[in-house]
Amino acid sequence: MVTLKELRQDELFLPGNASCPGCMLSLAIRMALKVLGPNTVMTVPACCSAVIQGYYPRSSSAVPTLNTAFAAAAATASGMSAALELSGRGETSVVAWAGDGGTADIGIQGLSGAAERGENFIYVCYDNEAYMNTGTQSSSATPAGAATTTAIRGKAEPKKDVPAIMAAHGVPYVATACAAFPLDLADKIKKAMSIRGLKYIHILTPCPPGWRYPTERGVDVGRMAVMTGSWILYEWQGGRYTLTGPSRGLLDRSRRRPLADYLRMQGRFGQLGDAEVARLQDELDARWAGMARRLEGGAGRGEAGPGE
C-alpha cells in the first residue's frame, strides 16, 4: 500500500494550468505522476488533458509529453515504447493518457491492436463520462440516464464496459480506480509499473461542469459513486478479479448506499423520475450479481465482464 507519507512532495503536474476549478482529472494526473516519477514519458490525444497541459511554448507537465491525434494514443505509445526499447531505455515508463471518448469510441481499435501485440506501456483511460473538452456530448462511456448536450433527456444506452473488454484481450493487468480514492489509484499505478506488457487502468474522474455539481463536492461525488456500487473498484490479473478498497465490502447489497444518493448529487441526472431511478438501481444490482459470479468463478479471458 502506498501511504500519504511515501508520496513525493514535489509536483510533476504544475499548478496554474487550465483545468476547471475542482477538476478531478487534474487530481488523478497529479497523483499518477507522483507515483510514476520523472522517468516517464506520456502521450495525450485530443481531450481535456491536452488542454490542461497547456499551449506552446508552455506546458504544465514536467514529464515529456507527446500530443497525438484523437484516435492515436495506443499507436503512439506503441511507437514510443519501441523507440525507448531500441535505444536501451526500456526502464522508462510509457503512459498513454486518454479520455473516455478517445478510448471507448475513436481509440478502441488502436488500443485493441496494441493489446493483441502485447505492447509494453500503461494505458490510462480517465473517464469523465462524456466528451467534456468539446462541450459534454455523449460518449459510449456515458452512463444510462445521464443528460448530455446530445441526449438532453438522458442517454438511453448503457455504459460500455471497457475494462471488461480489455480483460477479454488477456492483457497482464486491468484495474479500475476513482480519483476520489487517490491512494488506491497510487497502488494500481505502482503495480502496473512492475508488470511487462499492456496494463490498462480506467479511472472515474468526476467533472463539475459536465456532471453539474458544485466544485467542492468532487471527492464526495467520487466516493458516493463507489459507496453506491455504481463504480466498482477492482483489479483483474492472471484471470482473476479482486475487489479493492471500499468495494471489497459491498458484495452484500445491504451494504451499498441507494443509487439515488449518487444520482441526486448531480444535475445531469436531475430529469430522472423515481421510476427511472428504480430501473437504474435494478440494472446496477444485476451488474453486481454478475460481479459476484466472476469473483467466485475467477472468470478469465473471453468471459463477459461485470457490465454484462
Binding site: 499548478p15 496554474g16 477538476c23
Partner: protein, 87 residues
C-alpha cells in the same frame, strides 16, 4: 533541449497564467485548529496546498482556483471558504 523538429514546450508553473485570479472563494486555514494531517494537500487538484517547513500547510493564492475541495475534505474543518473581495 535538442531540436527534434517538432514544437516543444517547457514545463512552467502558471502555464495558463495566474489562475488564482479565477477564484470566487478563498480558502483560509485556521492554523490553530490544523492538525497537519496533509489530507488537504493530498486532495487539492491544483497542487495549491503547499507543504511548508515544520510540517504545516499553506495555500498558494497565486494559483489556487478556489474550488473548495480542501475545505470539504479537512477532517477537523480547519479550512473556511471566505468570499473573495470583488474589485
Amino acid at each position: 533541449m535538442r531540436d527534434c523538429g517538432a514544437a516543444s514546450s517547457a514545463p512552467t508553473m502558471g502555464a495558463s497564467g495566474r489562475t488564482g485570479q479565477w477564484r470566487l472563494r478563498r480558502p483560509e486555514i485556521d492554523q490553530r485548529r490544523c492538525t497537519k494531517c496533509l489530507i488537504c494537500w493530498l486532495y487539492c487538484p491544483d497542487a495549491s496546498v503547499v507543504r511548508g517547513e515544520g510540517r504545516g500547510v499553506r495555500i498558494d493564492y497565486d494559483y489556487c482556483k478556489g474550488c473548495g475541495i480542501c475545505g470539504a475534505v479537512c477532517p477537523v474543518k480547519a479550512i473556511r471558504m471566505a468570499e473573495e473581495a470583488s474589485d
